[in-house]
């Protein structure tokens, strides 16, 4: 089966000559949730940013359902069906909740555009805050809005960079439960996470990245008890 998203031997970084990604490859099957794990500085966030068009890719390919989308400008990625939710500052704080969603909807072709009402039914918390500036939402609500903003463009694949960052354990549960509901609507998810336990509980599969390339990969439930995980996080070879 053609992967929904394929990151193939990606090399890249912010500064020429200072690679962060050293041939990273990750493949996500349609309808799958894949967690991208690894210690700090492994290049997890850089990899999804590179796929989203925000970090230069020096070599390697990004394929979306078999289509090569490597090097497209970030705003074109959205139109191709690749959504991205950054870790921080992921909503437009001075726009209202409704304006955040209206902007995302208006920029996308009508036939691809998801209904705002569908978003409000998926995230009922936001429905009650339509007119509120997004900057005044709680941390959890902001994450919901960031996800809803990306979903309005009806992506086939959604990449999220640490959606649990800064949230209480209870809110992490709420956000992850919503992500499961998002997957149930047919969206494939690639999730970068530091919260290994929560990510493995949500994901079908996980890939562990170390020093810019994948070092371990497997079913999430198997990796949860795999001693190699701890070794990689502690800096030992797997």
């Amino acid at each position: 089966m053609t992967p929904a998203l394929e990151l193939d031997a990606i090399e890249g970084g912010y500064e020429p000559g200072l690679p962060i990604l050293r041939g990273a490859s990750v493949s996500v099957a349609p309808g799958e949730i894949v967690a991208l794990l690894g210690p700090n500085g492994a290049g997890k966030s850089t990899l999804v940013k590179a796929a989203a068009g925000l970090v230069p890719i020096w070599s390697g390919r990004v394929r979306l359902a078999g289509r090569d989308i490597t090097g497209l400008p970030a705003h074109r990625m959205v139109h191709e069906g690749l959504g991205f939710v950054p870790q921080t500052e992921n909503v437009f704080a001075n726009l209202s909740v409704l304006e955040n969603l209206q902007l995302a909807a208006a920029l996308i072709a009508r036939q691809r555009r998801g209904s705002l009402e569908k978003m409000f039914s998926l995230f009922p918390d936001l429905d009650r805050q339509r007119k509120l500036p997004a900057g005044r939402l709680s941390g959890g609500q902001r994450q919901m809005l960031a996800v809803a903003r990306a979903l309005v463009a009806s992506p086939s694949v959604l990449m999220l960079d640490e959606p649990s960052a800064g949230l209480s354990p209870k809110l992490v549960g709420v956000v992850f439960e919503r992500l499961r509901a998002v997957r149930d609507t047919g969206v494939t998810i690639l999730l970068v996470e530091q919260n290994v336990k929560a990510a493995l509980a949500l994901a079908d599969r996980a890939v562990v990245l170390v020093e810019g390339r994948e070092r371990l990969e497997g079913a999430a439930r198997d990796l949860a008890d795999d001693p190699r995980m701890a070794a990689l996080y502690l800096g030992h070879a797997a």
């Binding site: 989203a52 068009g53 925000l54 400008p73 970030a74 705003h75 990625m77 959205v78 139109h79 959504g83 991205f84 950054p86 500052e89 992921n90 909503v91 437009f92 704080a93 001075n94 726009l95 304006e99 209206q102 902007l103 995302a104 208006a106 920029l107 996308i108 903003r149 990306a150 463009a153």
Partner: protein, 306 residues
């Protein structure tokens, strides 16, 4: 007193129109454009040329005044053409200069804008000379709106009323564009977080082009209006540059509403200070007000960030 307020509102209107472009450029392109004043000058001079073309094309020869105003419909057409041409000029300057420097730091762009301003000012002098130009030689009689015994009375020309009215209409239209259209929301989104705007599907380069077009077109209108109530000179925009910055900073750099309010505060401060400190110090009073407001509110009246 009333007369000073009316004079301040006329000057403030021109400053507000120019300052809006300055604040838009700052918030979206993230640098202070010292070339903004020159777009006003170019707008005013391009309208002189456009007016000559329109008069020649219609075979009118001389402009017949429109109603109570000192100018005819031909100047309105010329102003629209000048706004469009100034927008093209701004896009050209961006393409030749700023686009290449965008990945560098803001100070490089600021210095480049100094250079662009110098080049534009000298080019306008080379093309049009240094003598003042006028759109019309019609002499307007000011209308007395308030008798002399009420707060000193108020006389104002229809042209001056048009300057204030047109500024308010344009500012309301801009506010509508920013809050009710996709382009406006995309501009606000880009101003706040360009990287997020990109992943939300905003074509940031397109937004930057729209910002130049809007900022330069408003500057051109400001230049034409300054020419309507005064004269068109090569130093027109340069002399207004510091008041433009004062207005934008006073209102809170990046805030359109702030630039408009700031423009009127600067205009009124300049005008109202004349009887107190004399005309030679009028420009300084705007900066006294600016310092006072920044001491109380460092981000300006409507500024959100330090």
């Amino acid at each position: 007193m009333l007369q000073l307020i009316a004079d301040g509102l006329v000057v403030g209107s021109v400053i507000a129109l120019g300052a809006v472009g300055l604040t838009l450029t700052y918030s979206i392109l993230r640098f202070a454009n010292f070339g903004q004043g020159e777009f006003m000058t170019w707008g005013a001079y391009l309208a002189v040329s456009a007016l000559a073309v329109v008069l020649a094309a219609t075979g009118a020869g001389v402009m017949e005044p429109l109603g109570p105003f000192s100018f005819g419909w031909q100047l309105i057409v010329a102003m629209i053409l000048a706004a469009a041409l100034t927008a093209v000029l701004a896009l050209l300057v961006d393409w030749l200069l700023f686009r290449r420097l965008r990945r560098g730091n803001a100070i490089t762009l600021v210095i480049a804008s100094f250079g662009a301003a110098l080049a534009l000012r000298n080019l306008v002098q080379f093309l049009y000379g240094t003598l003042p130009e006028y759109y019309t030689r019609e002499i307007q009689i000011a209308i007395r709106l308030v008798p002399r015994d009420v707060l000193g009375g108020l006389r104002i020309t229809p042209d001056q009323m048009l300057v204030i009215g047109l500024t308010l209409v344009l500012m309301l239209a801009l506010q509508g564009l920013l809050t009710r259209t996709t382009l406006g929301r995309a501009m606000r989104a880009t101003a706040q977080n360009p990287a997020l705007a990109r992943v939300a599907g905003v074509d940031v380069e397109g937004v930057i082009r729209a910002t130049w077009v809007i900022g330069a077109a408003l500057a051109a209108v400001a230049g034409v209006l300054a020419g309507v109530v005064g004269q068109v000179r090569p130093g027109l925009g340069f002399e207004l540059l510091l008041p433009l910055f004062a207005a934008a900073i006073l209102g809170g750099i990046g805030s359109v509403r702030g630039a408009v309010v700031g423009g009127y505060i600067v205009g009124l401060a300049e005008s109202l200070s004349v009887p107190l400190v004399g005309a030679e110090y009028r420009a300084a009073t705007a900066f006294v007000v600016l310092i006072g407001i920044l001491l109380l509110r460092p981000t300006g009246l409507f500024g959100e960030r330090a």
